[in-house]
């Protein structure tokens, strides 16, 4: 038996741990090296954890992601230049914005969320694997554009995502008084309550909260959620949930060499306003030839990233590649996101090269699953 998996980085010793590391081990987590972080893959069954999130409530340690506070009067002006989405959509305190940060060639340095707290205080959350380069990039831009601006990484905070139809109610059981403070939060809104920063966001396609709190309090909070019936869930379930929800994964679905306009992220790029953000010129000059589209496998097997896709269109113009693929526990069949020519439409049949075979798949609009229900 010979294993190939993005989750198995054998022979490299993990270096970084979150404040919940011992807690995961105490709960019998299978730990893996995830981009240099020692993180839980699952706590017994990745499938059970997936279904638990879709049907009830599950929790993820996402403390490997980095919160960064941006402080200063010029914060908003800085973001007008730094990010591809329009920061001026953020008018209400607590509102969040999903955006890409681009390089001058229009490639994606990272995808991230920005919370507007006050005119002189925004908070970003960036990916774990890109945190160091993001910080270096932002500090370099800061020095040019906004020398007085403070950019403060918050490794003192833990982040726990509680996701699922019963996720919010479970959090309300655990944090006294939180219900009144958060029950009127709309999607993509956040509020500070006591020592918690509570956002109605997530990466699963289910309702729920992502909660930041002092790292020293994380284990106690985790155990209280567990006692309230929230199941611990690992990175494995997180990946199948986000794929079903049609959410991009940095490094697979887009990176510094791909345009957000060919990565299913056009909706996050503000080409309408006359604002000049980094990467805008390159995007305007680059022809858009490809798209991210969903695939459903029509035969037995499992779609995986980097498998080649052939369409009925000829030559190189007609081929593409799976960027994220896997087994959908909710649909009980294999699904994928693929970067394919613009000529491919939902409903078209394509062929995917899986080992020595060509398997039939159908192109579909994604997301595949939202709020526990199949959309395909």
């Amino acid at each position: 038996m010979d294993v190939t998996s993005p989750f198995l980085f054998l022979g490299r010793s993990p270096v970084k741990t979150t404040s919940l590391n011992q807690t995961h081990r105490d709960m019998n987590a299978k730990m893996v090296d995830f981009g240099g972080w020692d993180m839980p893959l699952h706590y017994g069954s990745q499938l059970d954890e997936h279904h638990q999130v879709r049907s009830d409530a599950g929790m993820f340690d996402v403390s490997h992601m980095l919160a960064v506070d941006i402080k200063g009067e010029v914060a908003r002006a800085f973001f007008r230049r730094l990010i591809a989405n329009n920061v001026d959509k953020l008018t209400q305190p607590g509102k969040a914005l999903y955006t890409c940060m681009l390089n001058p060639r229009g490639g994606v340095i990272d995808d991230l969320i920005i919370y507007f707290l006050t005119e002189s205080h925004f908070r970003m959350v960036v990916n774990a694997g890109t945190a160091d380069k993001d910080m270096a990039w932002m500090l370099a831009q800061r020095d040019q554009l906004a020398p007085g601006l403070e950019i403060v990484p918050r490794r003192d905070l833990a982040m726990i995502a509680v996701q699922g139809p019963n996720g919010r109610a479970k959090v309300w059981q655990v944090i006294a008084g939180a219900q009144a403070a958060t029950e009127n939060l709309k999607l993509f809104q956040a509020v500070t309550y006591d020592k918690y920063f509570i956002a109605r966001t997530g990466y699963t396609g289910e309702d729920g909260f992502e909660i930041m709190l002092p790292a020293n309090d994380a284990a106690g909070f985790w155990h209280a959620l567990h006692a309230a019936g929230v199941a611990p869930a690992g990175l494995g379930a997180r990946d199948t949930l986000r794929l079903e929800a049609g959410m991009n994964l940095y490094g697979q679905d887009m990176d510094e060499t791909t345009s957000p306009l060919e990565s299913g992220l056009t909706w996050t790029v503000d080409l309408k306003s006359d604002r000049d953000f980094i990467g805008k010129q390159a995007l305007l000059e680059m022809p858009v030839k490809q798209q991210l589209i969903g695939l459903i496998l029509l035969e037995r097997g499992v779609l995986r990233s980097h498998q080649k896709v052939a369409t009925r269109y000829d030559g190189d113009e007609g081929t593409g590649e799976i960027t994220s693929g896997g087994f959908s526990p909710t649909l009980n069949q294999s699904i994928a996101l693929a970067r394919l020519p613009l000529s491919v439409s939902p409903g078209d049949e394509v062929q995917v090269s899986v080992r020595d075979k060509m398997l039939r798949a159908k192109a579909v609009k994604y997301p595949f699953v939202r709020n526990g229900k199949s959309l395909v």
């Binding site: 069954s45 499992v302 995986r304």
Partner: protein, 129 residues
């Protein structure tokens, strides 16, 4: 994890059992299924296919990983486990019961080249480091 004495093992984590009729049964070990996690797809070799020792002949895929399974010894495929097409999770439930395929060995003495239970136990301990 139990490592029965009546089985032989490969370095690539297949188990092999010699049956009374001279046929050998092949599966993957509990260690292998634990490494892979929840199984979602199994592809077994066609009956009648002649395999050389070490040849890729089956695929097991879990939610996150794909793994090739190799022929532990040379032989001809006489059966494939039909249950696994619809219930691949049986490998997770009992890896020794959920056999993948059966072979008629070219030379049954080839089994002597495989690991015994003690040898496989040692292999697992060395992989833990």
């Amino acid at each position: 994890m139990s490592i029965p004495n009546n089985l032989k093992y490969t370095k690539s984590h297949e188990w092999v059992r010699l049956e009374d009729d001279g046929i050998v049964t092949v599966g993957i070990t509990p260690h292998a299924q634990e490494l892979l996690g929840d199984m979602v797809f199994v592809e077994t070799p066609d009956i009648g296919r002649k395999l050389d020792q070490g040849e890729e002949c089956a695929v097991v895929e879990s939610v996150k990983a794909a793994a090739d399974v190799y022929a532990p010894i040379s032989g001809e495929v006489t059966a494939a486990n039909p249950d696994l097409e619809t219930a691949p999770e049986k490998i997770n439930q009992d890896a020794y019961a959920a056999w993948l395929f059966k072979l008629r060995p070219v030379n049954v003495a080839d089994l002597n080249n495989l690991l015994d239970a003690a040898g496989y136990q040692k292999l697992l301990e060395s992989e833990e480091d």
